[in-house]
Symmetry: D3
Subunit: 113 residues, 6 copies
């Protein structure tokens, strides 16, 4: 559990992104910029978009993606009850195979406070 702190997550992410920048080609860089753009305020508010990103990450079972969107959800003022409902939908769609990721998601959410 020692590596599960939001701070260490952000630091590792930043460190690794520098290595990506060293090697990635133009297409990868354009994708990264598109990836930021798509969660910006639009017809749907940021909060909804971050919940969409979170649920997509949960059913595809990517811990780092889940942590990233949990941080963004926190910043977008998602409440505990809203998070719990989004997680229920992820669990029903994705099944028990998502449970270990849901456990770690709630642990990270708890640590974000």
């Amino acid at each position: 559990m020692e590596n599960n702190s939001p701070e260490s997550f952000q630091e590792t992410r930043k460190y690794l992104n520098e290595i990506v920048l060293k090697y990635a080609d133009k297409s990868t860089k354009r994708f990264f910029s598109l990836d930021t753009h798509v969660y910006q305020d639009g017809a749907l508010p940021i909060k909804t978009k971050e919940l969409l990103g979170l649920v997509a990450s949960l059913v595809l079972r990517c811990d780092d993606c889940i942590k990233y969107h949990l941080s963004q959800c926190k910043d977008a003022s998602v409440s505990d009850a809203e998070l719990a409902e989004a997680i229920s939908i992820s669990l029903i769609v994705g099944g028990s195979i998502t449970i270990p990721h849901i456990r770690r998601a709630f642990e990270f959410w708890d640590a974000l406070k």
Copy 2:
């Protein structure tokens, strides 16, 4: 494209659900009831929940699930612009492998009108 009408989709679904009821055990039936329950109005409104169900279905690439949530999104008054943004997020998270499903999703959305 002949089988892609919303009417034929609903009919096939209804017909198959009757076969499910004939064979399924109690656990499967309890899951089906939980699956309905989780999209009901709560801390998150129905519209947001249906968009979450849609994005989860898109990144997991299940055409029937996509069609079902598109119908529900229509009933929940999701606009064209809101749908387009939810689909962009699905595409960025799930990659080009989702494109054939996105093509059929927009075709079904068009037919829903």
Copy 3:
């Protein structure tokens, strides 16, 4: 639903396997033989192995693989109640995204009788 008969499934499968034999290299052919071998009677009986193949196919959501193992389960005298329990486990592990495949699985099982 017209293409969902066990007979047409077997015929298409046979027809396509001939095309595979025309193009596939030695590694693919060795894999096919290994794929047959692994479901043979051993420490685990054929019936259990076919149920394992079925559940794996259901959670990975491959309709053709599901149909194949349903036919084999029928030949191995799997009962309706045993099938229903194996399908419940698939549904709980794999989530609602497996439901369209479960619907078609029960339809095919019904047609096998």
Copy 4:
């Protein structure tokens, strides 16, 4: 390899389940109860059901789920030879992408003794 002991696995699992209980809504809790129920003795014996859960977890590549079902398989008196055959089926269905999980599965099985 230090975190791979069955004891530390059970402890972490217990610790995280308490955090889940703190945040999860009613639907998630109902799913957890359904998830326990589905592996109970029925038309299929517990041993077969745990092997089904194991193979599903292996082809979906979830290490925590694999470890959980390996413990349950141990309790249900699955033999080394039966486990080896269930793993062969997982490997053939799921391909070489499952190999790292199969390595860790056998390591955990070895530690369970």
Copy 5:
């Protein structure tokens, strides 16, 4: 098998892309352009890139993506023997769950001639 001709595949694709253009937002359109760009001649030749796209599509099991990259492989002068080896790698990595897609891939390849 009637819908499996390369011509009908291209026509359906073109028809659906027009519907996508009608509804998609700017991010989706930028993704589509990036998707074309990434297979262009560079440090790796087009032929290798199309084989990479094909193998990715096979292990992710998307029939439409497979057909698209098979057409591109044909245009890039991939030989039967090269295709067979790329398919063997897909089968070994992705497992027997890819077999139905491999059957349809060889059928489409046969029809491309």
Copy 6:
């Protein structure tokens, strides 16, 4: 990041393979031999085959498989620019969900030098 060195990766892999040999049945062993065979020089050169294995591993998101093929790519003289293009294709096909694996892939590539 301490466990991410190529040396510790190779050692853990070797250690775990010995446990596999202790428990695995004949089918699993035949699969392992097929898995080695399929990347050997043939109609496609080793370098192309290792890139195919890498892209398949990236879109299926298996860190150990990615590391293995990165080592093989290094041995087969894949250049930085060739790697960057293969990774761009993986990212476009597999979407942002592959990004954490791409970060770790570039980190491992950097460490291989």
